[in-house]
Assembly symmetry: C2
Homo-oligomer: 218 residues x 2
């Protein structure tokens, strides 16, 4: 799971300023965390772009005055699983930044040409080397300050044996009492786990859609 | 709602070919429908990019050999509402391509810095000028051949008066027997409506997540 929680977006900046801003877009730091490099040049023709509200639009976009291309930026989906073996949940310890060394449910950016379930299953295989049977989508969480939506499927592990990939230091099963709550990488993971353990008492796992607004307290 | 249903993606092309392809990326037609213009040049430094699998990755990406930027492409979310007044559903007749003149639930691309519910409500306002009370997320539909995920919330109309925006020829309420099934713009709209009218018989509207695989028959 690649994620960033502290980078102001161009749109946020634009909404708090004038609606028509002709400054050149500069988004430098931590681009790799966002998967969104700075948009200085037109991807179609290579000329510089400027930020303005196109005709008929209401938000500033990065526009090419040479070929007319408008470059839209949209939120990204992160999909993963809450995979269970007996009474235990699979967590992965991150071998990459951000949150190196902290624990997460296996998850990552959805790729083009996938379904949400395929993305969740692929990420579980890539990060944990875990074989699973997919169950229902369980949580869908908007995280607007980083322009992401995180979705977690419940899943059944077909084996307690894992083969972690390069992004994972360790893949391990945790009983509820063993969950490293203070060492979880992301709030979407924490809240999904909290809902899961509460729902498990009833045996009923309703789909849950909610938001996490703003960066975490420091 | 902007959408395209027939454009093969770079990833699809790459998956059926070699994993390391050094051809220059050329995606021309209908870029505006996809909101995804051709990626010929690096958005960060303006140099040409090449398509190859970066180290540690498993899929081809558009890579800049000059500044090292890797340009990821990810699916886009389309959010909308199924908004109801008494026993009638709000539909909008499209004033834009694709599917000009056909009927849709109000929906469109989620913007950065929004929640999914905010996106659905904004699109309903922009396309229909409809004032609504948002209810639960009802359908979430992967459409992998166009790398989109469509989500529809149920909503309650606060008034039967509309003020359609530029993308809408007409906003109108339809009873079940009046739905123009043969003139609906998108299969995600059709299937959401079908589920809704079936569920309405029971008064119970469970969340539904499913996929629509492949383009529609011609």
């Amino acid at each position: 799971m690649v994620i960033a929680e502290s980078i102001p977006t161009l749109l946020q900046q634009a909404r708090t300023g004038t609606h028509i801003c002709r400054i050149k877009c500069v988004m430098t730091s931590s681009a790799s965390l966002m998967q969104t490099p700075a948009q200085n040049f037109c991807r179609q023709c290579g000329q510089t772009v400027e930020t303005r509200v196109p005709p008929g639009d209401s938000l500033p976009r990065q526009c090419c005055n040479h070929c007319g291309t408008i470059h839209y930026e949209n939120p990204k989906m992160v999909l993963g699983t809450l995979a269970v073996w007996e009474d235990k949940v699979l967590l992965c310890r991150r071998a990459i930044e951000p949150r190196y060394g902290l624990w997460t449910l296996p998850a990552g950016f959805m790729e083009n040409s996938e379904t949400t379930a395929e993305a969740a299953q692929r990420e579980t295989d890539e990060e944990a080397g875990a074989q699973i049977e997919m169950l229902d989508l369980y949580t869908l969480i908007s995280v607007p300050h980083i322009s992401q939506i995180h979705g977690f499927y419940r899943a059944r592990l077909l084996s307690p044996d894992f083969n972690p990939g390069e992004e994972t230091l360790e893949a391990r099963l945790f009983a509820e009492a063993e969950i490293p709550w203070e060492e979880l990488a992301f709030r979407t993971v924490r809240q999904t786990l909290q809902h899961y353990f509460a729902d498990r008492k009833t045996g009923h796992y309703p789909f849950r859609s909610f938001d996490i607004i703003g960066p975490p307290p420091k």
